[in-house]
């Protein structure tokens, strides 16, 4: 079974530029998450999708960050314009989660390492 795929793996941009990250979850996984992991910290949830609907985006800086999950499969996360403090690893994760009360294991991708200069 293929894991969660992310691209690009690395990205260097200058502040005020735009950047987009792509995630392809494990086939059949209904729930998709984007996390931001700043150096020296644990990942922080940015947004959660259930199929193609947003479940939680309370920690997403909506003035500059946007995300979509078209057709309930792949997802893109965009930053426009980027700031220095956006330098981080952006992790995508997915879980099977059907109509259940029990949280299921989240499987993480390799992440995209973003450096904003």
């Amino acid at each position: 079974e293929a894991g969660v795929a992310q691209s690009p793996r690395y990205k260097i941009i200058e502040k005020r530029q735009s950047v987009a990250f792509w995630c392809n979850p494990i086939s059949g996984h209904a729930t998709l998450y984007w996390y931001q992991q700043i150096l020296g910290q644990g990942p922080k949830l940015l947004i959660q999708f259930q199929n193609n609907g947003v479940v939680d985006d309370s920690q997403l800086p909506k003035d500059r960050f946007s995300a979509e999950r078209l057709k309930g499969v792949d997802s893109t996360l965009k930053i426009q314009p980027a700031k220095l403090e956006d330098s981080a690893v952006y992790l995508c994760a997915s879980s099977l989660n059907g109509p259940t009360f029990f949280p299921e294991t989240q499987y993480f991708g390799p992440g995209t390492r973003l450096l904003v200069l």
Partner: protein, 117 residues
């Protein structure tokens, strides 16, 4: 809001020794799940072990076991017979299940575990 605290930024032990990583959390919920994730250098995060709060029995997975103290809100990870491949960042994480279905994970800051040969 839930918080997860890992008070040991770094630990170092000799190969074959037993090591315990500490984690405390704060929540007002009664139903939740706790996890330990491992993030090897430059590799993706993987689940080590999970514990359902409603279960009194501590979870075990081969050399990995937890000590779950619900009243004290403590969730430590014990690694027995440590191996060089255990060298990694270890994150304690919390997920609320009171609302049903999946939520995002709340992570601690992590403990960098180094296994010395």
């Amino acid at each position: 809001a839930q918080t997860v605290t890992q008070s040991q930024p770094e630990m170092s032990v000799q190969e074959a020794e037993t090591v315990t990583l500490s984690c405390t959390y704060d929540t007002s919920e009664s139903n939740y799940y706790l996890f330990w994730y491992k993030q090897p250098p430059s590799r993706q995060m993987i689940l080590v072990i999970r514990q359902e709060a409603y279960k009194q029995q501590n979870a075990t997975e081969n050399r990995f076991s937890v000590n779950f103290q619900k009243a004290a809100k403590s969730f430590s990870l014990k690694i027995s017979d440590s191996q060089l491949g255990d060298t990694a960042m270890y994150f304690c994480a919390y997920e609320d299940s009171s609302g049903g279905g999946a939520d995002g994970l709340t992570f601690g800051k992590g403990t960098h575990l180094i296994i010395q040969p």
